[in-house]
């Protein structure tokens, strides 16, 4: 209850015109930049950092953090409307969000995005102020051994996310794993598969891969199909843009599970929001009574990842504020911001700068509510692009993609890479190679490889460590159950049929 008092005081303190303006500027920039294909919060922070350094500390941090969580709302918009992920954590939203838009349910998908983002954000915020200390300690228990177990579990989910053809699903996964290995090997300091190119040395940018694979791939696939007749064209009413509480109730478990997964994965150092969206999507599909709807416009497929990435964005701030450790690239930038305004993040920050921290948390609540209204206002404007004909829309998208992809790392090489992945995405779509296992491999593969190698370096090659640590062992057992459950179910069903037939 004491915490609640601090929070209320913090929200009160944040209710000043200057701070409110800073929140607004931050979230609008975050929202806007994440709508651009492939560009995430890092680009927004790069613009704001020089501007906010001169501001008062709370305003500066309110704006910087606003870019971060505002981005989690905006990325899904292009994912749903155009099938192009706006940023890395909204890649999974493409899978069901875009089919929904194609079926004329863009409004439903977008409002579910807003609701899920708000719900996930609120969950993350409540946990942030409620149990930050306890969970921060728990997150530290996750060393390389535990991370190995978690990644094995995450990759085993590919059995759920693969397409019709399991063989092709695993081939796509293996290809993704290899793509994740391109560049400098963090453990060995050794360049791999870079073919003398300095662009490849730092690895392939995930955003560029996702924009090519999904964005360009979708465009290529669409133009080889005959154009839709007017009767089939996307139709939606403005009423469908108003969030529907019934959908929220229907997806309540997916929202909750997504938020929890986002939160747990978000606090772990070095994992990130993108991985949490993949896990929560897979879990949503796994728990669904109708998993076959996923990938064809299931609203749960929008709800789960969007709740997860917003929840994760706040969870990622926990190690920063409670322990002074930046767990992700974006929180490292936030930490740089804190240092530049003269605050030393560390274990004592809560005590030493209590008022600042609570005011900042207050701005998160205000920002989260502001984002709901901003996004709802923006939806009809953005959704109207579905009325633009393909021959006009696609060239314009390709133009934006060219600029946006170049802007990721200011490199022409990225333009070539996006074309390569666009063609790859198109070919994979035509040949029923699922794209999801590939991106799963790109994101989770490096995490798994590094975790395994770190564990074995520390243990000097002793494999038994994987079974000696309780958290790791638990996760391995859960993974085994997860993999065996469908087999067991089938076995039981066969047994029951056999018995029924026998009796």
């Amino acid at each position: 209850m004491e915490t609640l008092g601090f929070l209320m005081a913090g929200i009160g303190a944040a209710m000043q015109p200057g701070i409110l303006l800073a929140i607004l500027v931050g979230v609008v920039i975050g929202l806007f930049i994440s709508v651009l294909p492939g560009l995430g919060p890092a680009a927004g922070v790069a613009i704001l950092l020089p501007v906010v350094v001169g501001l008062d500390g709370t305003m500066a941090m309110a704006a910087l953090a606003g870019v971060y969580y505002g981005g989690m709302y905006g990325g899904a918009v292009t994912s749903i409307l155009l099938g192009i992920p706006g940023d890395a954590p909204s890649v999974m939203t493409v899978l069901d969000g875009h089919p929904m838009a194609q079926q004329g349910r863009a409004g439903d998908a977008l409002s579910m995005n807003v609701l899920a983002s708000f719900f996930g954000g609120l969950f993350g915020l409540v946990m942030l102020v409620g149990v930050a200390y306890q969970v921060a300690r728990f997150a530290l228990a996750f060393g390389p051994t535990e991370m190995t177990a978690l990644m094995v579990m995450a990759l085993s989910l590919v059995s759920v996310l693969g397409g019709k053809d399991a063989l092709k699903g695993f081939a796509a996964l293996a290809l993704g794993l290899w793509i994740g290995m391109v560049g400098l090997d963090v453990i060995g300091g050794f360049p791999r598969y870079h073919y003398g190119s300095m662009h490849l040395l730092s690895g392939l940018e995930f955003s560029v891969i996702a924009v090519g694979l999904f964005g360009l791939g979708q465009i290529f696939a669409a133009i080889t199909q005959p154009p839709l007749q007017d009767s089939q064209k996307i139709r939606y009413t403005f009423r469908s843009l108003i969030p529907n509480p019934r959908e929220l109730i229907r997806c309540r478990w997916d929202l909750l599970r997504g938020s929890v997964i986002g939160f747990v994965v978000g606090i772990l150092p070095g994992v990130g929001a993108t991985a949490s969206t993949m896990l929560s999507y897979a879990v949503a599909k796994r728990f669904s009574r109708t998993p076959e709807r996923f990938g064809k416009g299931a609203i749960e497929g929008v709800a789960a990842p969007e709740a997860a990435n917003n929840s994760a964005s706040y969870a990622a701030m926990i190690p920063l504020f409670t322990l002074g450790i930046p767990g992700s690239a974006t929180t490292a930038v936030l930490m740089g911001g804190l240092l530049m305004i003269g605050l030393q993040p560390g274990p004592q920050m809560f005590q030493q700068h209590s008022e600042f921290v609570w005011t900042l948390f207050g701005t998160f609540y205000i920002g989260n509510v502001a984002l709901v209204f901003l996004t709802i206002l923006l939806i009809p404007v953005l959704a109207s692009i579905v009325f633009v004909s393909r021959a006009l829309l696609f060239p314009m998208i390709i133009c934006v993609v060219m600029f946006a992809v170049f802007s990721i790392g200011y490199s022409v090489a990225n333009l070539w890479i996006v074309i390569v992945f666009g063609v790859l995405g198109y070919v994979m779509l035509r040949l029923d190679y699922p794209a999801v296992p590939l991106i799963l491999g790109v994101v989770l593969g490096p995490l798994l490889e590094r975790a395994v190698r770190r564990t074995l370096i520390a243990s000097q090659g002793d494999m038994m460590v994987f079974l000696q640590r309780p958290i790791a062992l638990t996760l391995f057992v859960l993974t085994a159950l997860f993999l065996l459950a469908p087999l067991a179910k089938r076995g039981l069903a066969a047994f029951a049929r056999h018995r029924n037939a026998g009796s």
């Binding site: 613009i47 293996a174 453990i187 050794f190 290529f220 060239p395 133009c399 600029f403 074309i419 666009g422």
Partner: protein, 155 residues
């Protein structure tokens, strides 16, 4: 290209890629100082790609000719056209700069997708070709401070 032949080609390419991955991985070091080295994971991933692709190839070869009807036909050429147009635009970037290159790319891609030009389409694609690159220039070049590529015309 019929889907079946494409399927076989892709499987063959993947087999070649897998062999290449394994070959390179051996040079990176499989076990270094008693623990998995930089080549350990690529080795197994490459091997996996080879094995899975051999199975995929076998499946594709087993399929009867024409069993999977090709619905797309010549429409696939549009993809080739767009990829070529984009590639030319990228190659021309040092001379044209981003604004002009994308300004020219938009109508070309539009015509490829539209399958031709009529008055109504021209009236819409030309303004798009002018306005989009300029809008992008302001968003990326000015607002995001990205050092965009400028061509010989200084834009």
């Amino acid at each position: 290209m019929p889907v079946r032949i494409l399927d076989i080609l892709v499987a063959l390419c993947l087999i070649a890629l897998g062999v290449h991955i394994v070959w390179m991985s051996i040079g990176y070091g499989y076990i270094v100082r008693n623990v998995p080295g930089p080549g350990f994971f690529p080795f197994w991933v490459g091997l996996g790609i080879v094995l899975l692709s051999v199975l995929n190839l076998w499946k594709a070869l087993r399929l009867e000719r024409g069993e999977r009807r090709d619905r797309e036909g010549w429409a696939a050429l549009r993809v080739v056209g767009i990829v070529l147009a984009m590639s030319l635009a990228i190659l021309a970037l040092p001379w044209l700069g981003m604004i002009l290159a994308t300004g020219l790319l938009i109508p070309v891609v539009g015509i490829i997708i539209n399958g031709g030009v009529d008055r109504a389409f021209a009236l819409r694609i030309v303004p798009a070709a002018v306005l989009m690159p300029i809008a992008c220039y302001y968003v990326f070049g000015r607002f995001l401070n990205v050092p965009l590529i400028t061509g010989v015309f200084g834009i």
